[in-house]
Subunit: 242 residues, 2 copies
DNA sequence: TAGATTGTTAATCGATTAACAATC
DNA sequence: TAGATTGTTAATCGATTAACAATC
């Protein structure tokens, strides 16, 4: 199988998990093969885009046949690195941190959260579904000794960069950031930031656009109605166009 | 102030909340004005892009001066609709739902969560920081009677579309979706999906790319070293280029 | 006024879509 | 083989960057 080595655009990468989700659904339904055309009508990307995307990584299909659902699922999983295991720590065991951890433990196979870290003495010593909550001061030591791959940052804005610095110093390979800040990390560390409030603001924008559209439409309908009534009031053919 | 009416691309919209976050930081620091060039070095977009983005909505700047930090903050907030209030309900009061609600209540001014809905009888009748947890069967009725704007979906995959259907039927204007599914909603309803696992998978991909890059580099360094040692072993000037 | 910086048009770059030859 | 569908090249579309005239 041929591999291309050009840099893959981020737009493509963001689509891969979605392809994978739909492939899981197809597997559940027992579907064995799918053409780019069928996949297109399911997932909403053009068939052309699907073929282009996949061909960034190899020739996964077969002319005249399509793509094997199992095969494609395995390929995409491997491309995303989901055939590997990851050791993770959580920093900030508040509501959001605890929820994200539970969510990850239950839904994400291969992503193992092994410890949480806190500054709050009321939480240190407790646990989140079996994950011990340790003292934040011991973070660097723990990450180094236990070869942690990923740090999940769920602390408040002000401390997020300091947490990231410690994690990078201690040698993590990736950071999953839920704080509101845009972190700075060295080039060797991968960073994925989930700015929840940004998504809410984007939602608010789109709601307002739709509201304005609806108002505009209502206004036009009203005008049309008024015009009609005027026409009715005037004698038929009264005001000619000329 | 002139307003353009062409459709704004989604790429622009996604940048607006980020501009706003940086403007808040500038306000905190007491900065009163900023040029697109200064803003660029802060936020990481090009000065040209910043001016283009803002000019989609109006002439917010002043030649020879720059942009007023307060003024721009207010404009962007208004564009995003953050000068309004929103009534919200949560559907699915599990770990993630509760955490998202608490997060939203505490951090997002203007977004009011007024009720949560559950099918689990152990949760119905309890509350989340003062928000009552009600019976899911009463959702439509409650949304209609209380003019709810936004529904937050934090239920499991299988039920998400059904929840969305009920919310849309009851008349919400927007849905903030945390389920794993890509929901179908009528055109009049705004939808923002936060696929947390997709972001984790994207992180895994980038980690693996960086790992491969590092391995490649290490391999090259080793080869270079081997070559050097061979050269050292051979007599100086032994193998000439000619 | 001169200098600075915007708003906006033009040029470039990149991503998506269309078309079709290759091939199963 | 004929039909179907991929892989890939070419065309189009859209977004970003550069350049500069307008103007504070």
């Amino acid at each position: 199988m041929r591999r291309k080595n050009a840099k893959i655009s981020n737009a493509v990468i963001r689509r891969l998990p979605r392809y994978r989700r739909y492939l899981i659904e197809l597997q559940k339904k027992g579907v064995e093969k799918i053409s780019s055309k069928e996949f297109s009508s399911l997932i909403g990307y053009t068939a052309s885009q699907i073929r282009q995307d996949l061909n960034n990584f190899g020739d996964f299909g077969q002319q005249g046949y399509g793509y094997s659902v199992d095969g494609l699922y395995n390929e995409i999983s491997a491309i995303l690195g989901l055939d590997k295991e990851y050791e993770m720590v959580l920093i900030g065991a508040g509501n959001l941190g605890q929820a994200i951890s539970k969510y990850t433990i239950h839904i994400q196979q291969g992503f193992n959260i092994v410890a949480a870290f806190e500054v709050n003495p009321d939480l240190i010593g407790k646990d989140v579904e079996g994950i011990p909550i340790l003292d934040y001061e011991d973070l660097v030591d723990y990450v180094e000794k236990n070869d942690i791959d990923i740090g999940i940052i769920c602390v408040n804005q002000g401390n997020a960069q300091e947490v990231a610095d410690r994690l990078c110093f201690a040698g993590v390979k990736g950071i999953w950031n839920y704080s509101l800040v845009d972190l700075e990390v060295p080039g060797r560390v991968a960073l994925e930031s989930v700015h929840l409030s940004d998504t809410l603001h984007s939602l608010a924008y789109h709601m307002n656009v739709k509201r304005k559209e609806a108002e505009e439409k209502a206004r036009e309908a009203e005008e049309a109605l008024e015009k009609e009534e005027k026409t009715k009031a005037a004698p038929a053919g009264g005001q000619a166009q000329a």
